[in-house]
């Protein structure tokens, strides 16, 4: 059985297929089928020849085998420094071999590659900063994931994840109607406390368009409400698109390049349609990376930029606080030791290290902010990046990976962690669940709402 019913080289394109794969608990049958999946060496090699150019080839050629990248990788550190976790080794023994053998590799080898690509690398790109030659294994693993996906060797959850994106254009089964309905619902719920608050859907020519993570409408719609409150208080002329509101990309984690493109195009289409001056997204790292940092290239934009300036939520917040659109009541600032999790996806990948600290300077009483070590672009991955959080099969490895962040947090002595990224937030929640170190963690939105100095006229008229 070269191609399975559940596990095959074809992406999930229909709702039926999606439901079918989803109904296979824990992917038991899916992974069983994978054992039989045939490798199409010719197609694999053709794809490599087409897509592997001088950058990657050179990286393989000039790698000095010096092992300097070893210590830069948190997975190497946290897994007892076994040599099999050295980034250079990980990529050479997988992608390197496939290339060397011109794609003529076995099913077993492909499954091994899958394990390495999704459970031994989170594509955090940290090693790239510590290689004297500038070899970025994170980038190469991203590439390897694409090759594996094209051959059907991808963890069950991510096959479904990119299937969701293909079918629903969102990482979960949230339809356009569900989304619009959620916006209405949240507006209704919030309006009472914030008179005049609206969640304008599909408003033309707004100053800023907001996009989010499907998990928010699906499970945490208060996050949408919180965004609305902050836009409302800041007096922002904003909107959300009815279509193209989902900013995340599990397809990026899965290596489903075609789907990545489709997702981002959908968001850009919303921008074209509504013509906002700018756009911003929720407190999510990989969503920003997908839509703003990598997206323009997937869709083939020659300037490498989205159609309008597309800022991360932390940039919007910093700006609103800086310009006084949002005011913090100094009495309500955080007065306990607090630390900040720098997300790889917009700190190491877009340098947004200073804006978050600017926000901190407004909301934390001076003297209470403690940096993690290392920090900023040198910070370690939360432990759950690159899809690691979501893959059942690698749960154990993921839990081990969380220890790096745990130690970093413990070293700060803080009990409160600000984590302006969905993935980091999840990883930190899980790490508390797993290791119970007694910490709390939060996105920025709820913290800021709790500290706002709200102008008199925005408060609900008093009851009496």
């Amino acid at each position: 059985m070269p191609e399975g019913i559940l596990c095959n080289k074809t992406p999930i394109k229909t709702d039926e297929q999606l439901k079918l794969v989803l109904s296979d608990s824990r992917g038991t049958k899916y992974y069983a089928e994978m054992l039989e999946l045939e490798v199409d060496s010719d197609a694999l090699w053709a794809l490599i020849q087409k897509t592997m150019k001088s950058r990657t080839k050179t990286w393989f050629e000039i790698c000095a085998h010096c092992g300097l990248c070893a210590n830069s990788c948190f997975l190497y550190q946290v897994n007892g420094r076994i040599p099999q976790q050295v980034p250079s080794y990980k990529i050479q023994s997988t992608l390197g071999e496939i290339v060397k053998k011109k794609g003529k590799v076995t099913n077993e080898f492909m499954r091994h590659c899958m394990d390495v690509a999704w459970s031994q690398c989170t594509c955090c790109n940290r090693c790239g900063m510590y290689c004297p030659h500038g070899i970025d294994m994170g980038v190469m693993f991203g590439y390897l994931r694409g090759l594996l996906y094209s051959q059907g060797f991808v963890p069950w959850e991510l096959k479904i994840g990119s299937g969701m994106h293909r079918v629903y254009r969102a990482q979960m089964d949230v339809t356009t109607e569900d989304w619009v309905e959620t916006c209405e619902w949240m507006a209704e719920e919030t309006e009472e406390e914030w008179p005049g608050l609206e969640i304008p859907v599909d408003k033309q020519n707004a100053d800023i368009m907001y996009t989010c993570n499907a998990r928010e409408p699906k499970h945490y719609p208060e996050d949408v409400a919180e965004a609305a409150i902050l836009f409302h208080v800041a007096g922002e002329n904003w909107t959300v698109p009815s279509e193209g509101w989902e900013q995340t990309s599990l397809s990026m984690f899965a290596g489903d390049w075609e789907c990545c493109k489709d997702n981002v195009q959908n968001v850009y289409d919303a921008i074209e349609r509504l013509n906002p001056k700018r756009a911003t997204g929720t407190e999510c790292g990989h969503a920003h990376r997908a839509t703003v940092i990598e997206g323009p290239y997937w869709t083939g934009r020659p300037d490498g930029l989205p159609p309008v300036p597309y800022i991360h939520y932390v940039e919007w917040l910093a700006e609103a606080l800086r310009t006084g659109k949002l005011k913090i009541d100094p009495a309500k600032r955080i007065k306990e030791p607090v630390t900040l999790q720098d997300s790889c996806n917009y700190v190491r990948n877009q340098g947004l290290k200073d804006v978050t600290r600017e926000i901190i300077s407004y909301i934390v009483e001076p003297g209470y902010f403690v940096e993690m070590s290392p920090t900023k672009e040198h910070n370690y991955c939360c432990g759950g990046g690159g899809g690691f959080n979501g893959i059942g099969m690698y749960r154990e490895q993921r839990n081990v990976a969380l220890r790096t962040k745990m130690d970093q947090i413990l070293d700060t002595g803080c009990k409160l962690v600000i984590a302006p990224c969905h993935n980091c937030w999840d990883a930190i929640r899980d790490l508390e669940e797993e290791y119970e170190i007694g910490i709390r963690w939060s996105f920025l939105k709820p913290l800021i709402i709790g500290m706002l100095d709200v102008p008199e006229h925005m408060l609900p008229k008093d009851e009496e």
């Binding site: 109904s23 608990s25 479904i160 979960m172 499970h219 959080n389 979501g390 669940e433």
Partner: protein
């Protein structure tokens, strides 16, 4: 008035009191009851793995699991099911308060019935302040009836309603609900205000004076709304509001307390001390209805 009732439950003994009230109401007033159970909080990806609400363990939500939970619930409520024609079970995954609100909204429910601890397990509380009850009570369009104690003195049906007011906007809605219920079910209604003197030093004359003012205010605010409804009574006492309400309820053998819910505060610590209604819920010996919106009264 009680056409659609949502019984938010964990299926645990703590929710039996709530279930008893809900099913009884269904039988008496011909309501449709939805036994609404949130399986758990999704831990990763697309909600297929959840932390089970009761055990806190991670489980995979698939057809087998769903069938099993449904069976469990049916057994748990077997007795009640027997008499209730219009009962169905709905299962969902997500954060319990959110999903309860979502279901209430999509059904346009008239009443949500919950045990005071419906769906609170330490596991998914983390990272989100406020209890399930607080969140539901705060945001629900319809009144929320809570039965905290299993032993609550509920003998079936309502005959004696206590409405506690603080004259807030929400209290107006709560009053309408209390009045409509009293009318519909032919109950006695006590309108009560507690003069909050905690932390204040007042001499007896001042207290007396304020009690008279409050009494007048009740007359001016609520009596005109009652039209031909005459089974009411007005009480104004001084003291800590939640204590006085519970005391009075006990004295008068009240079987339903109606109050406004208007805690803006979601921070669990602050809200717990701040909100009278929550204190009442914990202490009262009968069901308590909290009302915060004017829509479904």
């Amino acid at each position: 008035m009680f056409k659609k009732i949502i019984l938010a439950t964990t299926g645990s003994p703590a929710s039996f009191g709530a279930a008893r009230v809900a099913f009884d109401m269904a039988k008496r007033y011909g309501s449709e009851v939805t036994i609404f159970h949130v399986l758990g909080v999704p831990t990763k990806a697309f909600s297929h793995v959840v932390n089970d609400v009761r055990t806190g363990e991670e489980v995979e939500v698939d057809a087998d699991y769903l069938a099993w939970v449904e069976e469990e619930l049916k057994t748990t409520y077997a007795k009640q099911f027997a008499g209730a024609e219009n009962a169905k079970i709905v299962l969902a995954t997500g954060m319990p308060p959110r999903e309860i609100l979502r279901e209430a909204r999509s059904q346009d429910a008239d009443l949500i019935v919950m045990g005071a601890s419906s769906g609170d397990s330490a596991k998914y509380q983390r990272g989100y302040p406020g209890s399930t009850l607080q969140k539901v009570a705060k945001a629900a369009r319809c009144p929320v009836l809570t039965v905290h104690r299993e032993s609550a003195s509920y003998w079936g049906g309502f005959s004696n309603i206590l409405f506690g007011t603080d004259f807030s906007k929400q209290a107006t809605s709560a009053f309408k609900f209390a009045l409509n219920t009293a009318r519909e079910l032919d109950c006695d209604l006590t309108i009560f205000h507690a003069l909050d003197i905690s932390g204040k030093v007042l001499d007896q004359d001042q207290i007396e004076e304020q009690l008279i003012v409050a009494r007048k205010r009740i007359r001016a605010t609520y009596v005109p709304q009652m039209g031909d409804f005459k089974n009411f009574d007005i009480e104004v006492w001084e003291g800590a509001p939640y204590v006085e309400i519970v005391k009075l309820a006990r004295e008068k053998q009240v079987d339903l307390i109606v109050m406004a819910h208007h805690a803006h505060e979601l921070d669990a610590e602050k809200a717990k001390i701040g909100s009278t209604v929550e204190q009442v819920i914990v202490r009262a010996n009968c069901p308590v209805v909290s009302v915060s919106k004017p829509d479904k009264v």
